[in-house]
Symmetry: none
Subunit: 189 residues, 4 copies
């Protein structure tokens, strides 16, 4: 089935070249024509590979999530203690600060369009849930409450970058969280 391989390969290649364009203009603002032009294909061709703007974006998210988890695993591999894992995780985020803010905004932007148009997007929800589980594993957090705590803090910090570019560094906040968690867990045992 050589044709199938080609088709799928080309589709992934197109996806790989999409992120920056989405990030620059936002999900709602970018037009399919712009995407097509940026990719060097016609709108017709774009629609040949992705049946709609929505589908295109869903596949993009699936793709980037896979990649990010692989990278995160590599970064956390050598960390042993909880504090070390926290530190590594926050360092990873800090290093790709811009990238993660773009992702977050893109996801929210996408969500806004859907919210009033159709039912909540099931595909994206699944992708996010699976990612959440793997992150909890990576960090070695058992208590679901603590997982929510840590991930919410991260989300909030990323979002904070929207306006307060100077206020808080990820590393600093990561260290703070590490200390607090350590003290808290020691005490509660």
């Amino acid at each position: 089935m050589p044709k199938i391989v080609d088709h799928d390969l080309y589709r992934k290649e197109l996806l790989g070249r999409c992120f920056d364009m989405f990030a620059e203009k936002g999900y709602a603002a970018i037009t399919m024509r712009e995407i097509a032009q940026g990719l060097g294909v016609s709108t017709g061709t774009l629609y040949h590979y992705f049946s709609s703007k929505e589908t295109l974006f869903e596949q993009l998210v699936e793709e980037w999530t896979q990649q990010d988890l692989l990278k995160a695993e590599a970064e956390l591999e050598s960390a042993q203690t909880l504090a070390e894992r926290m530190e590594a995780a926050f360092r990873f985020i800090a290093t790709n600060e811009d990238y993660f803010l773009k992702q977050t905004l893109l996801l929210i932007d996408f969500h806004q369009q859907q919210e009033h148009t159709a039912s909540h997007n099931e595909i994206l929800k699944q992708v996010c849930d699976r990612a959440r589980d793997r992150v909890a594993d990576l960090l070695g957090l058992k208590d679901p409450k603590l997982v929510v705590f840590v991930l919410s803090l991260i989300d909030g910090l990323i979002l904070g970058r929207l306006y307060n570019e100077e206020v808080a560094s990820f590393e600093e906040q990561g260290a703070l969280l590490g200390k607090m968690l350590t003290v808290y867990l020691e005490q509660s045992t």
Copy 2:
């Protein structure tokens, strides 16, 4: 068609009736015509009071921020210890969970439109900064790092409501934060 005597009073009344409409459809999605119809006025009249959609939204944010701060002050008045203040704050947020999620989404939505159109919105930034300071006062947090920590967690939790409607309760997370902060502060002295 009686002539409304007090321009400013009527402007505020219109503002007061805008929030739900914005919240329901989002900043980008709602049209000025829809807003006008919802308010029972013509588009011309709407533009008589607000020179653009952007201005209208800015004034709306200013208005709701005032109101929210007043309410928050009332809620935290009787709280004494840090843990109590945390608890009261998170209870306040939990009670108005939906409302705060709407606000957050609206602000992000608005931000997305501007991001690629013009320079960052100065007016909104000022409103948010002022609010942030008063919240820090209310919570009695001195260390800027801790302020960022707490507010980021709150933002993250609110945003978490977008997908994970069941996962975490604000009260629970507020209690957790209260404990962690108390232990942490005791230990660091």
Copy 3:
């Protein structure tokens, strides 16, 4: 009848302060609200004195034509020969180059709006015809053909200022016309 006097006086004062505003934005582009604001009155008041934008403009033209003819007469008073009159006339125009271009554009702009809206504007036509006759008198041109010739040249030169700001000076062209006319008239007698 003190009221009448006041009314008419005030009307003329308003007129006198209108020209620059019209000139700056053009007849079509300027709004009645802008005119009102520029004059420091309400739109209602403006409509109290001028029943429509069209009427306002017609009266403005009538006013400025009166003034210009008086000034022109003063300038040409001392000129004796044809060449002298030509020279004086072109010097007068050159001195008020900007002003006359503004007038011309304003008249054309006004004309364009009307052209397809209603029948040709009778009032303006009369004003222009009367002015034309007085100018012919002033210049001392008897042959209607020559009057058309000279006035067309002037109009064309003024219009030329639209794009070719540097190309031709009025004085130069006036001198040229003076010479040509003199030679021509001498020869044809």
Copy 4:
């Protein structure tokens, strides 16, 4: 809805059918929707070929200028002396009197819109300058002052058609100019 094969060819065809519509209502007054309807296409299609009303008009001017210069050349081909060239030129203009008035008004109308909106239109200026040079060549006028003189007269006469429909004939004025120029040039040598 067959697919038009040659984009550029179809674009020119659309242009060719635009002039009368612009002429009838004026640049400002005609709407893109009207133009689209008049051409039998959707507004979307119109914008597919011309990215804005401004662009559309610029291309229209470019087109008509090309055509007019070709026609003018054909008309003046056989003329030998200066007086003959003048006569031929004015006859050409007289024959297409209405057409040239429409052009002039259109250009002025267009100019008015731009004047207060943006910087002066470079494209139109270039088109006009090039045309001016070729006309000077055609008429065989060397002295720049005389070129300005003749072209201004023509512009003024065309503009005169706005109000004074009866007053002056182009042929008559052309003959007059021919005589004056001949006498003047003879004398000045």
